[in-house]
């Protein structure tokens, strides 16, 4: 049983996110955003400078992802990025994780408990061929 076959895209953001680089970055991620139910993680660990156009771009990406029933999550924000996100009151709009791995894992974290138990049971029980 396949639970989440859709890929999670992890994209690292550039060191300086200003109007120009934000536009370029948006062009880069546009194909992922326009996919069906996109699952995207932006890694902000390298970001040393983030301005209002960068924040605007993040919000736009999130809005695009939500439009298509997907989600955008942020991972490992640097101190600089965190300060700007906090300053612009946008940190509360995003789900922010310590690492990209945590963020990527979180996409499959909303499974109903019953389904999760079923999965766990399937993993634990040996395959039928071996039992025979």
């Amino acid at each position: 049983m396949e639970i989440n076959s859709r890929p999670v895209i992890v994209k690292r953001m550039p060191e300086r996110v200003n109007a120009r680089t934000a536009r370029e970055f948006l062009q880069d991620v546009q194909p992922f955003l326009t996919a069906d139910r996109p699952q995207i993680v932006f890694d902000l660990s390298q970001v040393k400078q983030l301005d209002s156009s960068g924040v605007e771009m993040l919000l736009r990406c999130m809005s695009e992802a939500h439009k298509r029933d997907g989600d955008l999550k942020l991972a490992a924000p640097s101190a600089q990025a965190s300060v700007v996100l906090e300053l612009t009151r946008t940190e509360r709009l995003f789900e922010i994780y310590d690492t990209s791995t945590d963020a990527a894992r979180s996409f499959s974290g909303f499974l109903p408990n019953a389904l999760r138990q079923q999965l766990l049971h399937q993993k634990q029980s040996p395959p039928a061929t071996l039992a025979a």
Binding site: L87, R89, F110
Partner: protein
């Protein structure tokens, strides 16, 4: 008894080495609740009758804003290399003018020392040099007898680190702030506003715990929550909130809807609209966040910018903005992109949802009561709450 004071203001080497300092000025020259620590120290010295006062600064700490008018302190600017030599020379000048005792302070730390007790202690001990100290560490505050020029010279040559002879320590128990970094500066503002210090905020207390200096503009709809300080000619725009010991220094601006919480906005800084400044010290192009212990350079003028220092320049900028406003509006009106038309709600509801249709195989409108029955409600709830 002729007691005079020599106040030394120089930028520490640690601050100079910092690639991104929160301010180009040393903390002693930064306004905190309307006055610099230097001004507060001078006021204190004058209150104890210690005058005249000579203030020496190095090139990294210009005293151009302070003018010597003859009656007040004498301000001397020196180069960084010759700073200690200038201090020694000024000390000798004070003695030649008839001083019997010289109080030497280096800012640095702000300490509310009882100079009367310290001088009395110095005389009782028959000491050449007396140094003030707290429980934790020694302060750079000395009482030097006029007859001990060599001791003074030795002290200045060692940059106040070494005393030639044994130096009794005067225990200071009053308020002290090291003023080393942005955190200390912020703590100093909190202490002044919560009246933990003997020194008080500048301006008048318009409501309990709210001090406003002359010329400050607080627009209708802005909220000031005590304790707070608004400096001279500062502007607090509508729906801004200043709260939790925040201090907005002179000529600073807080734009519409911005919340300043437990923060200091340094002079001539402008904070943009609808922002949330918390636990921070805002400089002209920097924000020091005290929770994260980081100084961030902000080059985006929408977030943080500076207000021009001279009124003429401010007038010119305002005029240029006014002149360019109408043509800009006309241009946008003529050539600006049309606003996307709002889709009809009923039509939108009848449209097939692309994500639902393609992915789940439901060829249904986005809102269809029949389809809703087919669609399991528990799954819809899971989706609504996501992974929380």
């Amino acid at each position: 008894m002729d007691i005079r004071a020599l106040v030394l203001v120089n930028q520490s080497t640690e601050v100079l080495a910092d690639p991104l300092p929160f301010s180009s000025l040393p903390p002693a020259l930064l306004e905190v609740a309307g006055k610099t620590p230097l001004e507060r120290t001078i006021e204190r010295l004058l209150r104890f009758g210690i005058q005249p006062i000579t203030v020496i600064s190095d090139s990294a700490s210009p005293l151009s804003a302070y003018a010597s008018d003859g009656s007040g302190p004498i301000y001397v600017n020196s180069t960084r290399e010759l700073f200690w030599r200038a201090a020694e020379s000024s000390f000798n000048d004070l003695i030649q003018e008839g001083a019997e005792l010289v109080v030497v302070l280096s800012l640095g730390a702000y300490a509310e020392i009882d100079f009367e007790k310290m001088v009395q202690f110095h005389l009782d001990q028959h000491a050449r040099v007396t140094q003030a100290c707290t429980e934790a560490k020694a302060l750079e505050v000395f009482c030097i007898s006029a007859s001990r020029r060599n001791d003074a010279a030795s002290l200045f040559r060692s940059q106040l680190t070494k005393c030639r002879s044994e130096c009794p320590l005067f225990a200071h128990t009053g308020y002290t702030n090291q003023l080393k970094d942005a955190r200390d500066l912020r703590q100093f503002a909190i202490d002044i506003l919560t009246l933990k210090t003997e020194t008080r905020p500048a301006g008048s207390e318009v409501r309990p715990g709210i001090w406003v200096e002359q010329g400050a503009l607080v627009e209708k709809g802005a909220r000031l929550v005590a304790p707070a300080f608004i400096g001279a000619f500062a502007k607090i725009r509508t729906h801004a909130v200043i709260t939790r010991c925040s201090s907005v220094e002179h000529h600073a601006q807080i734009d519409c809807g911005t919340v300043a919480e437990n923060s200091t906005v340094l002079p001539y800084c402008r904070v943009g609209a609808c922002l949330d400044v918390a636990h921070s010290v805002v400089g002209t192009a920097t924000i020091t966040n005290l929770r994260r212990d980081v100084t961030v350079e902000i080059l985006d003028t929408k977030l943080v910018s500076y207000v021009l220092a001279t009124p003429g320049n401010r007038l010119m900028r305002a005029a240029a903005e006014l002149v360019s406003f109408l043509p800009k509006q006309m241009w946008q009106g003529l050539f600006g992109g049309r606003k996307p038309q709002q889709p009809d709600l009923q039509a939108a509801l009848q449209q097939t949802s692309p994500s639902l249709g393609g992915a789940a195989g439901y060829e249904t409108p986005a809102c269809d009561t029949d389809a809703a029955e087919k669609f399991p409600s528990n799954l819809a709830i899971v989706r609504r709450y996501g992974n929380q």
